[in-house]
């Protein structure tokens, strides 16, 4: 009898938790769903549902500024993720293998401080060195903030790895380089790829640091979205947002297939 009462009380509490949880999930998802739905709405206003249309997508694919910005974003993200994956993997490996002080500090601080600080300090830096603000300065900045994220993912993969495998390779006569290339690297590959995809999404989504390092002539997708939001909100923003969400979702699914635990540990 007592147990049954207890069970009822527990169920009631779990029920209350579920109600709150569903509300929080709704809070997280309803805004994004509204953006997606309105991208198909045949109206200039983001208010009432008028009818279904692909017009906003059609307009988007004829918007040269937007396409140019998307091309820039893609190119920057590809280069930044490639370079930061190499450097971040090295950093993650070094942090796992050696007792270092300065490197972990330099890897972790950019993640911990407000983004705007990285943006403005790089703005001063580039202007002082007479580096023209544009695609190059954006890419250099993106590499800097992506390294840390890759390093963390790679390090967590390494710390979950069986050290004796590398030792066995060394005992069998492999040089450290061979042991790394033939044993360690294949084992941490899923972590490296997850880090690369993470760097790619971070770069393609970044707004704040890009905002300060872009200068007047270069634009990326987030900068373009920002100016569209600031000037005139049309459902074209919804369309580009929906496409960007779909792309990110796709990359996340790929990343989670590659390294099921890498995303959670970050």
């Amino acid at each position: 009898m007592i147990n049954l009462e207890r069970l009822k009380a527990v169920n009631k509490r779990t029920y209350a938790l579920w109600v709150v949880a569903v509300a929080v999930y709704a809070f997280l998802y309803v805004p994004l769903i509204i953006v997606m739905v309105y991208s198909f709405n045949d109206s200039q206003l983001n208010a009432e549902w008028v009818g279904f249309t692909f017009d906003w997508y059609r307009k988007l694919f004829h918007n040269d500024e937007m396409l140019g910005a998307a091309g820039n974003s893609l190119m920057i993200a590809l280069i930044a993720s490639a370079v930061s994956t190499v450097l971040g993997t090295m950093a993650g490996f070094a942090m796992h293998r050696y007792k270092l002080k300065l490197l972990p500090l330099l890897v972790l601080t950019p993640i911990a401080i407000p983004e705007i600080l990285i943006g403005v300090s790089l703005l001063i830096f580039f202007v002082m060195l007479n580096i023209t603000l544009g695609l190059v300065s954006i890419t250099l900045a993106h590499i800097a903030f992506c390294i840390g994220f890759v390093a963390i993912v790679v390090r967590s993969r390494l710390s979950g790895m069986d050290e004796s495998l590398t030792e066995a390779a060394r005992d069998c006569g492999a040089t450290p380089m061979q042991a790394f290339r033939l044993v360690t690297l294949p084992l941490i590959m899923p972590g490296v790829l997850a880090g690369a995809l993470m760097a790619f999404t971070l770069s393609i989504d970044d707004f704040v640091i890009t905002f300060f390092t872009a200068g007047a002539n270069a634009s990326t997708l987030p900068l373009q979205i920002y100016s569209m939001i600031k000037i005139a909100v049309t459902p074209e923003v919804n369309a580009v947002s929906t496409l960007l969400m779909a792309l990110t979702l796709f990359l996340i699914i790929v990343a989670s297939k590659l390294a099921p635990n890498a995303l959670r540990s970050s």
Partner: protein, 306 residues
């Protein structure tokens, strides 16, 4: 050469090789982060003691007679002009309110996820992270639609208020819309550390408390909550620090009254082009952010040893 000397020589060459390997591996990322993170940060600190240039940016370090052109003026200006302190305090308040609402929304969710069957947990956590991976501006912009004057929410709210004879309200471009946006973009940062902490709790403790006659509230306040404090502090730091420095949320959802310290920094660097003063504001922001992070580490440390 005798045997001992030979092995000593090869050992020393092996150790110098491993030192070389260590430098080859950690060197490139170290140099990159020094050049593109540490040095720019130091330059910004230095810039805060310089004069602003006539056409923006920075004035030359040396004046005509070759004297060093440095000043504390930018700091005294910050200290004496109350408007900046006021905006700073307002930003601290916005970030605190945001942290509080994130906490009370995230906690029940994290408890539920931690107590649900293992096979569901990954999915429930993924559902929290997923929106966080869509572009930050899009998530802010979504609230522009929802809170806008034409939106269903605003019209429904005003229809209800109209019944009671209350004047119509605007939701967008208010402190309310800024806080909603701040909570929305930071919520996952609170859920994740809370979940990571709650997941490790031993359920036997709650059973024991129940057997000793503790009510549900007592069990929560005297066991679950104190044990979860490291997670609470970590989440609070992860929400508070970025919320303090943000400018896009207040820019898009705040209108003219919603200015936060991030907006002022942005304005100093890109519009007024007073870089030294912008640097001072950035440094004050860094000190505040790192202070909060340091505090979170300090407060959570004794708990971690238990």
């Amino acid at each position: 050469m005798n045997k001992a000397a030979h092995s000593a020589a090869s050992a020393s060459s092996a150790s110098s090789r491993s030192r070389l390997a260590r430098w080859l591996i950690s060197g490139p990322p170290l140099v990159y982060l020094l050049v593109f993170f540490a040095i720019p940060s130091l330059i910004m600190v230095f810039a805060s003691f310089r004069y602003a240039g006539d056409y923006g940016g920075l004035a030359p370090i040396f004046d005509e007679v070759g004297k060093l052109n440095l000043t504390f003026e930018n700091y005294t200006r910050f200290a004496s002009d109350f408007i900046y302190t006021a905006i700073f305090l307002k930003s601290l308040m916005y970030a605190s309110i945001t942290t509080f609402f994130c906490l009370i929304m995230a906690y029940p969710l994290a408890v539920l996820i931690a107590r649900s069957p293992k096979k569901h947990r990954d999915l429930l956590i993924l559902l929290v992270i997923l929106p966080f991976w869509s572009n930050f501006l899009i998530r802010v912009y979504a609230w522009m639609i929802i809170l806008g004057p034409q939106s269903g929410l605003t019209r429904a709210l005003n229809a209800v208020l109209g019944v009671f004879g209350v004047q119509p309200v605007t939701l967008l471009f208010t402190a309310f819309s800024v806080i909603v946006g701040l909570v929305y973009v930071h919520l996952p940062f609170m859920v994740l550390p809370l979940y990571a902490n709650l997941e490790k709790h031993d359920a036997a403790l709650l059973d024991a408390a129940q057997d000793l006659g503790a009510s549900a509230w007592q069990r929560f306040w005297r066991i679950t909550f104190p044990l979860s404090l490291p997670g609470v502090y970590a989440g609070a730091a992860l929400v508070f620090i970025p919320a303090l420095g943000i400018f896009a949320v207040s820019d898009i959802l705040g209108g003219t009254g919603g200015v936060m310290i991030g907006n002022v920094i942005k304005q100093q660097f890109l519009e007024t082009r007073d870089w030294p003063f912008g640097s001072v504001l950035s440094i004050v922001l860094t000190v505040a952010a790192l202070g909060v992070a340091g505090l979170a580490v300090l407060v959570s440390r004794p708990r971690r040893q238990q």
